[in-house]
């Protein structure tokens, strides 16, 4: 539940409540209600209002939480007027690219809007570093649903790592996450992603058929 504060628009400084909150709870979906209550107590007016900056922070965190639908959940609660503001529009565009697998466009847009991303409250506390990593994790998640074997250039574009850095990254993943590096036919490297039930359908356990113990206990009286 959010409404914009009726104060004149000025470049809001990071309020101490945000810093406190972020320091204690870097990512917690339950932050918002707690903070709302806190803010409401502080504000003497009867109107329930929330700092637009705080919404921005929350959206930013929600973006990092993908594939969880947190981002759209937040949008449901932020008034349309507020969503039209520049910084919000940028985050919404970034979210759109991620939702539709357009990683190249995402990284381009994020780079162009570095200043907005950095202006999000809390980034001064060093949340920025986590942002890239979180998006890369999401990218790898979607790629793992989709590919058994993925060509190197496709992977590189999705996680925005190239050249030597990519080599290092791949070595690390091979050593720790079960990735296998193969030679593709003439076109360079192929990366074999770990097997899961989504990119290897034969692994799909018929979970539908397992009967929870609870259900069996219900018929114990009958089985006698």
């Amino acid at each position: 539940m959010v409404r914009e504060r009726e104060t004149p628009k000025q470049q809001q400084q990071v309020s101490y409540t945000v810093e406190q909150l972020v320091a204690v709870n870097p990512y917690n979906p339950d932050i918002l209600p707690d903070l709302e209550n806190y803010v409401n107590e502080q504000v003497s007016s009867q109107m329930y209002s929330l700092d637009a900056n705080l919404c921005l922070l929350r959206l930013y965190q929600a973006l990092m939480a993908m594939p969880a639908p947190d981002f759209s959940l937040c949008l449901f609660l932020i008034p349309e007027r507020v969503q039209m503001e520049e910084q919000f529009k940028t985050l919404i565009v970034l979210s759109h690219y991620l939702e539709t697998g357009r990683f190249r466009q995402f990284w381009d847009e994020a780079a162009k809007n570095r200043h907005i991303v950095e202006a999000v409250p809390g980034n001064k506390l060093g949340l920025n570093a986590g942002f890239e990593q979180a998006i890369q994790t999401y990218a790898i998640h979607v790629l793992s649903l989709t590919y058994q074997k993925i060509p190197r250039p496709v992977l590189a574009e999705a996680i925005n790592i190239e050249g030597l850095s990519l080599d290092k990254f791949l070595e690390h993943q091979a050593a720790n996450s079960g990735w296998i590096l193969e030679k593709g036919h003439g076109r360079g490297q192929l990366i074999v992603l770990p097997r899961n039930e989504f990119n290897h359908p034969e692994l799909k356990k018929s979970a539908a058929d397992s009967v929870p113990l609870e259900h069996i206990t219900r018929i114990f009286p009958i089985l006698g």
Partner: protein
């Protein structure tokens, strides 16, 4: 914007102060009403739940139809002396009085505020005093349901500032606590906590408590009121949070209730429907389409089989309305996530009849499709509200549609993102393997674009459930090996386990 959404209210006609003009005397108590309150009072004191239910459900309706078709019931002051001026009975009477007013007439602002006061008084009695009553579940559900409804109605009313009179604006300013969103949430939350209902349900699973088995009634001389209000408040909270667009919190509030089984929530048809309707809607907005489809299907089948028994009930119209809305939501879910195998034959044929043509058009994902998505969503969605107090500065505006517009916009945004998936699906159904190059050709896009489309398909068909696990909604799936797409037909889910359990139970009952 679909006009089905617009909440139109006739101008209020019953101001108690002007009763002379309109032939209503709040102090006149017909004999049948005197008899009604005297008997109802006695039954409540004697805890005759069955009789209370009959009077509440049937007699009240009959008298309303006969004597109070378009006037309010006699004022509480006029009947109080017939019931020993019993404070609690008077609060209950007033609750019914206001509910009748909202149903048949149009409340004034003052009446809305008075109703809020009455709920506060009534709820405070239940929360803070030892209440020694047993009331029928129907009544207790209606209290919570009506409370939330009046809150929703007030927010809608308040958001239309444009034509408010000076008087109304003054009243709004003065009574700014009435129907405040925090107040509403507070009471519902207080019922949940004070009644200890969550712990009771937990302990019931281990056989340490009896609640569901007795339908919430207390057979050891106590009262069911607080416990059952606490229970129904969980559904109330789900509803309020949906109205505010906070789907995740809403679902969290419902968590203690196991909707895979019967429970007190199914003991009253209104509660059953409200629970599943909002649960399904919240899951739809969270993109958990399979979950929504499953629950809508079960509910619609149940209504189909049992609605004949409710034909005479005052809730019949509401039941039918919600039935239609759920069919619309089901049509939306199935268009976004074709999983027809999850739908029962009976429900499916009803669905085809009502929305067969529209569903075909929705799955074309063109501009016309968006219009239909808009139409169905607007028809079936909850009446979203903006909980904030209005701005009293000139110019006064109406903002009652803001909340709805936002939810609709975000919903259509999601639909648009899924636009390309329909095309992919069609091709995947035809091929077992196909190269990226070939498919890109057929779909008239370049390979990089096709890769993003395929990623989108995977992302959109694999939702994150409430435990953070990935669950697949896909009816047809695939994986990519370098530049080859391998299609995977998903098998119909045969639930042998459940089948055996049911057979065992069947045999036992022979």
């Amino acid at each position: 914007m679909a006009t089905t959404y617009d909440y139109e209210e006739a101008p209020a006609t019953y101001d108690e102060g002007r009763h002379q003009d309109l032939g209503y005397d709040p102090n006149f108590v017909p004999d049948s009403v005197r008899s009604f309150v005297v008997h109802l009072y006695r039954h409540i004191r004697e805890k005759n739940v069955y009789e209370i239910h009959q009077m509440y459900e049937i007699s009240f309706q009959t008298l309303s139809d006969r004597l109070f078709k378009d006037t309010p019931w006699p004022s509480v002051d006029a009947v109080a002396h017939y019931v020993d001026n019993d404070q609690v009975f008077c609060l209950l009477y007033r609750e019914m009085w206001f509910r009748h007013l909202y149903a048949r007439l149009s409340p004034t602002l003052k009446q809305r505020i008075d109703s809020w006061d009455n709920y506060c008084s009534l709820f405070q009695v239940v929360l803070h005093r030892v209440v020694n009553m047993q009331l029928p579940n129907q009544w207790l559900w209606d209290m919570v349901d009506e409370f939330v409804y009046q809150f929703q109605s007030f927010c809608q009313y308040r958001a239309k500032m444009k034509n408010k009179t000076e008087q109304e604006i003054a009243l709004l300013r003065q009574y700014d606590q009435a129907w405040n969103v925090y107040g509403v949430l507070n009471y519902l939350q207080a019922f949940v906590e004070k009644s200890n209902i969550i712990q009771i349900l937990e302990q019931e699973k281990e056989g340490l408590e009896q609640f569901t088995a007795t339908d919430g009634y207390d057979y050891s001389g106590g009262s069911n009121v607080l416990k059952v209000l606490g229970y129904f408040s969980m559904v109330g909270l789900l509803r309020v949070h949906c109205l505010l667009g906070d789907y995740q919190t809403g679902l969290k509030c419902l968590l203690p209730i196991d909707i895979s089984q019967q429970g007190v929530y199914t003991s009253v048809i209104g509660s059953h429907i409200a629970t599943i309707y909002h649960y399904g809607f919240a899951n739809l907005m969270l993109r958990r389409y399979v979950e929504a489809i499953r629950e809508f299907n079960k509910m619609l089948l149940y209504i189909f089989k049992t609605k004949q028994y409710h034909q005479k009930s005052p809730q019949y119209e509401q039941i039918l309305k919600k039935n239609e809305q759920m069919y619309a939501l089901l049509a939306i879910c199935l268009s976004l996530c074709p999983q027809v195998k999850l739908v029962d034959e009976t429900v499916n044929s009803q669905l085809r009849e009502k929305y067969g043509e529209k569903m075909a058009r929705m799955q074309r994902y063109d501009d016309e499709a968006l219009v239909i998505y808009d139409e169905l969503f607007s028809y079936a969605c909850p009446k979203f509200i903006t909980p904030s107090a209005p701005s009293f500065e000139e110019p006064l505006v109406n903002y009652n549609q803001d909340a709805y517009r936002l939810q609709l916009k975000l919903f259509l945004y999601e639909v648009k993102q899924q636009q390309l998936l329909s095309g992919v699906r069609t091709f995947l159904k035809v091929y077992s393997t196909i190269s990226l190059g070939k498919l890109a050709n057929y779909m008239e896009v370049d390979e990089p674009t096709l890769r993003t489309i395929l990623l989108t398909y995977k992302h959109k068909t694999h939702a994150v459930d409430s435990d953070g696990k990935i669950i697949s909604n896909a009816d047809v799936d695939f994986y990519i090996d370098d530049d080859m797409i391998h299609v995977v037909e998903s098998m119909p889910v045969k639930r042998y386990g459940d089948y055996f359990l049911r057979q065992i139970v069947k045999v036992w009952y022979i």
